[in-house]
Subunit: 463 residues, 2 copies
């Protein structure tokens, strides 16, 4: 890793050249580099924590002046209990992701076809190339992302939030020195610190293959509007939970509390609650009570407010709010929940209500994560097939949408894209493939009308 | 299919709604729609060929006035021997792509993990959603693309080259009528004809998930510069062949003739020939002779020209041309070949020359298809690992890069992207996945510090 004074073009070119060398290194060499980074960071703990303390000092002042939120401030502190240890353990965890059935590894064959005698087609996995990763002011993330990039054989250009500049510089210097004694090229991981370099980097689609922004909606939108490079990530996390009429009330209470309050600022927190008309007086009241007791503001449509008003104690009923149309497209990132009633007309099948919930979600959600609470497997299946989101959950919390919880070890982010990788993106999302044909002099003109016939015979992958 | 007078926004919204219904149709319903389209086109042969004849008449006039190239004119004629039959057969071929090991099908499970007891994660395939496909003036392509879209469960908005407007209108009317009696929603396939609608459609990233342009470099670049929607395709097909010093001369002649002259205007035709210094007097002369005899212009660097000059007959040697740096980044799409010498310094290993060839290709090629001719498996492997292109071939022609030849049945195009799909893109490239979790009330807060532990146990895919 180098902390660089190079121009954006020089940075991108260096990354591109490094990526070619990195891509052909054996797994052991990439793993050795992670071991070296881990050891070097361990040794330099005091230096890094001292740099972090200075970041924290400046940020605390900015927070006192009202220029920085407390939540950003909290994330800066690498000295908080367990954070340093988790960061270091994360490097080893990524290094040890080895099961080729779980994780795409470089050179894994995923298709083999005998086109003709002595003419075999193979598709095999390889790294994407050069990643540009723009992330928030969380000092531990630089080590996570550097590990994932090296493990997957991709070169990475990193730009972290400015509030942690001193921590990033300290960490990147240590990583850079550690790489010097490994086979991983130093420019495989480069840190840029000036924010005004981003615009220039976004123009370098000749050298940069993928941009992964982690940050505010505004940042992600700015990036999508200003580059030809593919962008992987999400601008919004507008997640919904739909309570079908046969949902278990106790389960609904537990799941809503977790989904709304586990971490309200997270992209996988629930923002909209859809409630079957038939559940307004059964499942909704205990859910609403529990949320209100925990300080959640409920923004209700007319039907749900009317239903709750008649059953909730007065002190709770009086603090119910009215929802506007805008509330159903708002990512609150706060203890606020928009509630909408899904009609259950008499004499229609339960699948009709589910269809209406699906239609609402497909029109309003951000294709991140949506969940249904129901005791019917058929209705759950209808929901999971019909909802066009990366994650479609049944009887569990939207907060489950997370690479670590999915068993991916770690993640570079959560994608709401419709191509390449959706949902939590781990190592696999940083891989792609290429095709090789091993021939013995055959040419295209040998085949077709009047010529030889293709065999197109599928071969076992482990041959 | 509807030939539409709707606004771009209305077209995109209709496609989006149709895509939800199409995505949950059973395979049989989608296959039945293809059968219906096939039958209806068969019946309407005369009407369609009459419309095509009018297109041809107008185009012939434009060609006479010098406004249209002969090669475009040739492609317009749906009445040419075999073309109509191939178009119809193509629909049935796509319908019958059924082997789930070969082709991703909707609802194929690709990952199963037990996160905990009664908490299972599954990843399953699904269509991408809405495709915007912009293609050249080839009347048969509309039927191919409509088939691939329906088979893969994607809605598609189609815009074809203007020279075939009457043919497209006739075909789309027939397809539209045929769909009326099937479960596939009519707006799943919509044809737009006015070119000025493209700009508006490119702005509708809320409804359109992927743009697939097939056409000139300028068109592809324009699209990439003017949309936030991911673009799948290629602007350039700058393919190279590297003749290693131990290449078989006879094989080299055959492969170069095929790669350069099989179809010089194709994106998989070879444009640059890299020759090991050690092969300048052995393999290059017969290759150069054969190409010159077939009318190919050879643009040589100093070393290759000097070498050829001494061994070729005078009439051939005198027509050798000098290459400029620009020739090595030019997609000629014509019987022209740029030749460059790769130094083989004495006393270095053969892998050094191969490294230099790889470096040239990675710096100059368009990441489409590159090939090596060598008798050494080690050198071939070095080349195929090191060259960062979608297709890396050994001892065969670059012209092999083609969906039909790969056994994919057909293709929507060839991708030089680094993410999602590379090389010939068939059904698989039009699919993506989503994650479902089937739970029983578990929430994220149950796990982690002091709580339950994740099981993260991999399950068989066919359970």
């Amino acid at each position: 890793m180098s902390l660089t004074d190079l121009s954006p073009l020089e940075v991108a070119k260096a990354a591109s050249i490094s990526s070619r060398n990195l891509a052909v290194l054996p797994t052991q060499a990439r793993d050795d580099a992670l071991t070296a980074i881990h050891g070097a960071l361990q040794e330099a703990k005091d230096t890094i924590l001292a740099a972090n303390a200075k970041d924290l000092e400046l940020a605390t002042k900015a927070a006192e002046d009202g220029e920085l939120s407390q939540s950003v401030l909290k994330r800066l502190d690498l000295g908080r209990r367990g954070k340093w240890e988790d960061m270091l353990q994360g490097i080893l965890d990524v290094r040890d992701l080895e099961d080729p059935d779980w994780y795409e590894t470089v050179n894994k064959i995923t298709l083999r076809t005998r086109l003709d005698d002595g003419l075999e087609l193979e598709r095999f996995t390889c790294p994407i190339g050069v990643l540009l990763i723009i992330f928030e002011a969380r000092p531990e993330v630089i080590a996570n992302i550097a590990s994932l990039a090296i493990k997957s054989g991709n070169a990475a250009i990193l730009k972290g939030g400015k509030e942690t500049t001193l921590s990033f510089r300290a960490i990147s210097t240590i990583i850079s020195n550690a790489l010097t004694n490994t086979l991983v090229p130093n420019a495989s991981i480069q840190l840029v610190t000036a924010r005004d370099l981003i615009a220039s980097l976004l123009d370098l689609d000749k050298y940069i293959d993928l941009v992964i922004p982690r940050g505010s909606n505004e940042l992600v939108r700015y990036i999508k509007n200003n580059t030809r490079i593919p962008v992987l990530g999400h601008a919004d996390g507008l997640c919904s939970i739909y309570i079908h009429k046969d949902a278990d009330p106790e389960m609904a209470v537990k799941i809503l509390i977790d989904a709304k309050l586990g971490y309200p600022a997270a992209c996988n927190a629930v923002e909209t609650l859809l409630v079957d008309e038939a559940a307004l007086s059964t499942t909704l009241p205990p859910v609403a009570s529990a949320l209100l007791m925990k300080g959640v503001s409920l923004r209700c449509d007319t039907e749900s407010k009317r239903a709750l008003f008649t059953v909730l104690p007065k002190n709770e009923a009086l603090i119910l709010q009215d929802a506007t149309e805008e509330d159903y497209t708002t990512e609150f990132l706060a203890p606020i929940l928009a509630i909408k009633t899904i009609p259950t007309p008499p004499n229609v099948s339960p699948s009709t209500s589910c269809s209406l919930a699906i239609a609402h979600i497909n029109a309003h959600s951000s294709k991140h994560t949506d969940a249904i609470l129901t005791s019917s497997p058929e209705i759950a299946n209808q929901f999971q097939s019909g909802v066009d989101s990366a994650c479609v959950f049944w009887n569990t919390s939207t907060r489950m949408a997370d690479g670590m919880r999915f068993g991916f070890g770690t993640e570079v982010g959560i994608s709401t894209n419709k191509i390449h990788a959706r949902g939590p993106v781990g190592l696999e999302g940083l891989m792609i493939y290429k095709y090789r044909i091993n021939g013995s002099g055959q040419v295209a003109g040998d085949y077709g009308e009047g010529g030889k016939r293709w065999r197109h015979e599928r071969l076992p992958l482990d041959g």
